[in-house]
Amino acid sequence: MINTKSLEGSQMLEINFGPQHPSTHGVFRMNVFLEGEKICALKPVMGYLHRNHELIAENLPYAAVMAYTDRLDYFNSMANNFGYALAVEKLADIEAPERAAYLRVIMAELARIVNHLMLIGFLLNDLGAFFTPVLYAFREREKILDIFEEVSGSRMMCNYFRFGGVKRDVSAETLAAIKKIVAGFPAFLEEFEALLTENEILCMRCQNVGVLPADLAVNAGITGPVLRASGVNYDLRKVDAYGLYDRFDFKVPLGKKGDVYDRYYVRVLEMRESLKILEQALAKIPQGDILNKKALPFLKAPRNFKPAVGEAYGRIESPKGELGYYLVSDGTPQPWRYHVRAPSLINLTVLEDMCVGQKVADAIIILGSIDIVLGETDR
């Protein structure tokens, strides 16, 4: 907390990083107080992209909200869809058929890979690399986005999940294409890591910068790769085993120190684990329905979908952390209360703790390593 009164007459420099700044990942603002290049206090300011997503959703039928969840974290709309579909399915007690559940896992893991690629690319941009890692990441992301376009019709705003299933079946050719991507991805990761992981400049910049102790991370509700980089083993895919994640054999990579480098490397390892899940899912995916019979009539008439009075909290391990949807139904077509527990927002709680005492350049990469998307932070 900054006591601005005490700053008057001091030699401190107050700088607004953002809302217009190349590396605040959108319209985020950091109010930074500097002494030389050292950060004395930092205050995150948000809300520039606020559109009251929750209020919009409370005025719409459940099915129409799906399209709006795409816009939360626009880098991985598949994960957002997944969380929302899960919450509504909990509320209305519908289950996705086997094939649909497999497709969901495949799409969610592809989205995770896309997200981590983008994060690492832009983290390197924040570090000052001139777009090379970003464009290598884009090259691979492009292939995955083509898959998304093929299955859902859109590259980023997928709107692919439905309650009790998915929107469209996936052809054998597309599955083969995904297999090809999965098979070719490790080679790319090798190249990517050769460019980055051992680079002395990157290590100098990232190691022991922005250290987040495990107990603070837990207390502050930090989730996702940031939490795991601090060495806390908590992955909802393992803990909740939602979807079909208990059927796949994968590990949870953990960091040691909880600095920026750990957060970077944990994500690289997570991509490798995602590839394992994808391989297994693609090998095992059965034939069958893609939509629960119970949910079928609501496709054509979304307003007939009236879950019984009650509430549900569905949460998934989105690439950014725990993405939770809290829904209260009053028996009408619209939710009475709809809340998104946004990992991008809550992971910002500890931004100041990580940044104070570091240099200006570190604040940028610490923010980058938290991985926020303003669409989700501000909602």
Binding site: P22, A129, M204
Partner: protein
């Protein structure tokens, strides 16, 4: 055969000579001297911006290829007219001066920054007998003039009244002064070997027809070259030492508040500095215009552009240093290394060559190893990541 080679080699020198001869028939002697000066000046004034324009294109193309893109390819064949289009754009852009800025200094900064960048061209030996002025203190002149660049950058950053600019300016001052020291010291062995400060003489001492006597092929020369080149990269604010600009941190650093042609002048100075620094690095360590078969100026430009490509390659690969690490690198790593390099070179002068190789390589290797050991913070930690269930 030899004649043709000689003719091509001296084509520019002879062209100037003929012009002056022709004028000598009509004009008095003092005007001929004046015209000679003007010709050199005009050539440099044209060469500088031209080099800058096509360096930007080269940079964009090479980085594009590194990133699996085409780079500019729409304006003209292979985008060759792109720099001209950029120039037109820069000229026609609105010139915005912040309301609170110190207007005079804000205006002067981009003007002044170009002057030292052009002035250092004077002592660069572009080819055999192609030095504009063969100063006997050429190297000293180069070091002195090129270090002026700090002042206009700081002027611009201070006058902008922008906090990003201010931080950028402070970084520039710190960085340029720090890197000036190892850069100057890394040149000392070359001066000792060639016993001259004249750039021409330095090139001449590296003469050799097929057996290359370039200084870079000696242990002290290699170390000196690497240090000089790294300092040169830092001097002209190029990645990974581009802290004064630091796009992701300080928006655009010292030129945040500049637009239009003033902005272009900052860029022009940066690229011309890059060119001259690479040219001097070539002169000092890579034998300047010395080289077999091809004309001397082609050798010079070839070597210089090779070094520039390395700079671009750096830009396409590396993330940026942090400000304290940058300083640490200069003071804790480069400076001690240059200080060890000077006595090694001094001994080299007196000891027969085979013996010199035997002692200088281990000395330099051990000191390098020792410096790495002493600078623990530069060495990455090895980490093992557990995979939990």
């Amino acid at each position: 055969m030899k004649e043709i080679e000689f003719f091509v080699d001296l084509i520019f020198v002879n062209a100037k000579g003929w012009c002056l001869d022709l004028l000598g028939h009509f004009l008095p002697d003092w005007t001929v001297v004046l015209v000679s000066i003007i010709i050199s000046a005009v050539v440099i004034m044209v060469l500088g911006p031209l080099v800058m324009m096509y360096l930007t294109l080269l940079e964009r193309k090479v980085i594009g290829r590194i990133q699996n893109r085409y780079g500019p390819n729409r304006v003209g064949k292979w985008g060759l007219l792109q720099p001209i289009a950029d120039g037109i754009k820069m000229f026609t852009k609105e010139d915005i001066v912040p309301a609170q800025a110190d207007k005079i200094i804000h205006f002067l900064a981009p003007v002044i920054i170009v002057i030292p960048a052009l002035m250092v061209f004077l002592v660069v030996p572009f080819g055999e007998r192609m030095t504009a002025v063969n100063l006997n203190i050429g190297l000293l002149y180069f070091i002195a003039v090129s270090s002026i660049t700090t002042i206009p950058i700081f002027m611009g950053s201070w006058a902008s009244r922008n906090k990003y600019s201010l931080l950028g300016g402070m970084r520039t001052a710190a960085q340029m002064i720090s890197y000036e020291v190892p850069m100057t010291l890394s040149v000392v062995p070359v001066i000792m070997m060639s016993q001259s400060l004249s750039t021409n003489t330095i090139v001449m001492t590296q003469a050799g027809d097929m057996d290359l006597h370039w200084f870079v092929f000696t242990p002290w020369g290699l170390v000196g070259f690497v240090i000089f080149f790294l300092c040169a990269v830092a001097e002209c604010n190029r990645p990974p030492f581009d802290l004064p600009e630091a796009e992701s941190e300080l928006v655009a650093g010292f030129h945040t508040e500049y637009s239009g042609m003033k902005f272009a002048l900052f860029y022009m100075a940066e690229y011309m500095n890059a060119f001259t620094l690479c040219g001097i690095a070539t002169t000092l360590f890579l034998g300047g215009w010395q080289g077999p078969l091809f004309p001397s100026w082609l050798w010079f430009f070839g070597k210089t552009f090779l070094l520039i490509c390395v700079m671009i390659w750096f830009r396409g690969t590396f993330p940026r240093f942090r400000v304290d690490q940058l300083m640490g690198f200069a003071w804790k790593f480069l400076l001690p290394l240059t200080l060890i390099n000077i006595p090694v070179a001094a001994l080299w002068f007196f000891v027969p060559e085979q013996l010199a190789w035997i002692y200088s390589v281990p000395i330099l290797a051990v000191s390098l190893w020792g410096l790495v050991k002493l600078n623990r913070s530069f060495v990455p930690e090895k980490r093992i990541y557990p995979l939990a269930d």
